[in-house]
Amino acid sequence: MRPKSLSRVELAAGLLASAGAVVFVTAAIAELKPYVPVLSLGVLYVFAVLPVAVFWGIGLAALVSVASMLAFNWFFLPPTHTFQLSDGANWLALAVYLVTAIVVSALAASARRRAELAELREREAAALAGEVLEAEALRRSDAIKTAVLHAVSHDLRSPLTAIVAAASVLANSELLLADGDRVELISTIRSEADRLDRIVGNLLDMSRLDGGVAAAHPELWPPEELVGRAVEQAGPEAERIVVDIDVDAPPVRVDAVQIERVLVNLLDNALKFSPPGSPVHVRAEERDEELLLHVVDQGPGVAAGEREAVFAPFRRGDGVVVRGAGLGLAIARGFSEANGARVWAEDDPWGGHFVLALPVAERTPVVV
């Protein structure tokens, strides 16, 4: 709200500006006097009144109106350098001027006040809306963060538990262990540490995607090579994967490291949610400007209403944060988008079916 009364500093500034304005307009009229009938120049004092009305309000503006009327009388109306007037008509002119000046300044001041009020309301409304939104977003992201942290700590803790248990058994000299047991414990430590590394890798990928630092470096790649490398990283179950990609499939323009992460996660997902020993098929299909890689398994697939939700971090279909649900599909989605590619769950009555659509490179002659 605009303060009702002016502060001392404001008042001083206002008085100074008012005096300046009157002096300025008076000087201007003195300059113009030889060319124009002086009585018609009195109206120029409105230019002194208006700014004062806008910036300091009606009170000072009225004062300026009176002061400028007196100044006009004193300097320009005969007999000059007196406050007397020789012509009665001049009284009327001064009176009309004074009324005009005061009305104009009242209008200007109230317009200014209204504008300020509107601006203030708008700011208050915006601030309020912002606070509400922020509070809501904070509450929601806090809830998700807490849930995700729970899920992450669980996912991290299970391999850690296995490692600590295995190591402490090995360290205990009182236990009699068969050689086979010893080897098994050591391989447990190794494989659980690998699992831990994969989880940390996923978290790192996710934070890169969230932080927007996952800039893609697209190059031309033969799709069979991208898939081949992803299959190699799919771990001990990789032999279930059946790849059917024509060697003449067109090269795609993507960041190989990132698209491999997408494919590894899609393959992991397919292997995890399909019956042991059943095959996971990868086939390619060229459609428009894209190369579609289909990853098809014989698991239960994704229910119709959950096909988007599965791409949210740590969440399954119903949006609920689940331990062990992991980040795989969220990472697949994130890196796809960074590469101008698309990934989605396909409606397929036969089983799980994910599609990765990669941008095909324009056909260019290859250097020989």
Binding site: G228, I245, D255
Partner: protein
């Protein structure tokens, strides 16, 4: 017996590396800073260096560049996942290879053996890698005894790879050596080109065993029978 200089500021990693390298029959020197590494390498010249890319006093890449001003000792750098540009910088600064943390000691030892082997036999005119034989002077290539027809650029590329068997060559190095400086930035065609070459050489081009891709970094030629990891 070969002398290996290990440079890492993590005491546990340093200790584990020292133990496994001694166990494999190497003499081991250790350093925990870049400055210490450079001094040790000067006083007691090693046969190979294992170098962490992140050191308290300087980047591993700088240590590498510094070493290259006076020695061609093989350098294997240790790096973390996802830092392709740093790996490329280290390789372009003269490193021979990298191993990604966390790594199995088997893998590191295999890379180390390959690096030491390269120093031993750099001048043989005929190279055998698995079933692949390249007669560099005679410009002839056979795979499992059967002749392979290559274009001139393919031959130059393959001989570059085979002269550096096991060594990781960056895209920039390959493009400069095979096509010339003007093509140093054209890496996006390289992958398609390599897949053509593989079709002439590899039994299963989609799962290559000889010419291996390090995405975002480069290519290396390996002997499949020697791969351990």
């Amino acid at each position: 017996m070969s002398r290996i200089l290990v440079v890492d500021d993590e005491p546990q990693i340093l200790r584990a590396l020292e133990m496994s390298l001694r166990g494999a029959g190497y003499d081991v020197d250790t350093a925990t800073t870049g400055a210490q590494a450079l001094t040790t390498a000067a006083v007691q010249p090693p046969d190979a260096v294992i170098l962490d890319l992140v050191l308290p006093d300087m980047r591993g890449t700088e240590v590498c560049r510094e070493l290259r001003t006076w020695t061609s000792v093989p350098v294997i750098v240790l790096s973390v996942v996802g830092d392709e540009s740093e790996k490329v910088a280290a390789l372009d600064a003269g490193a021979d290879d990298y191993v990604t943390k966390p790594f199995g000691v088997d893998e590191l030892l295999a890379r180390l053996r390959a690096a030491l082997r390269r120093v031993d036999g750099e001048t043989e005119p005929v190279r055998d890698v698995g079933e692949l034989r390249v007669d560099i002077a005679g410009r002839e290539v056979t795979f499992a005894g059967r002749p392979v027809q290559l274009t001139p650029h393919e031959f130059t590329f393959l001989s570059l790879l085979i002269r550096n068997e096991g060594k990781l060559l960056t895209h920039k190095t390959i493009l400069e050596e095979v096509w010339g400086h003007a093509y140093a930035a054209e890496s996006h065609y390289l992958h398609v080109y390599v897949s053509q070459l593989r079709r002439k050489l590899e039994p299963d081009p989609a799962r290559p065993r000889y010419i291996l891709t390090e995405p975002g970094v480069g290519y290396r030629l390996v002997d499949p029978s020697r791969r351990t990891s």
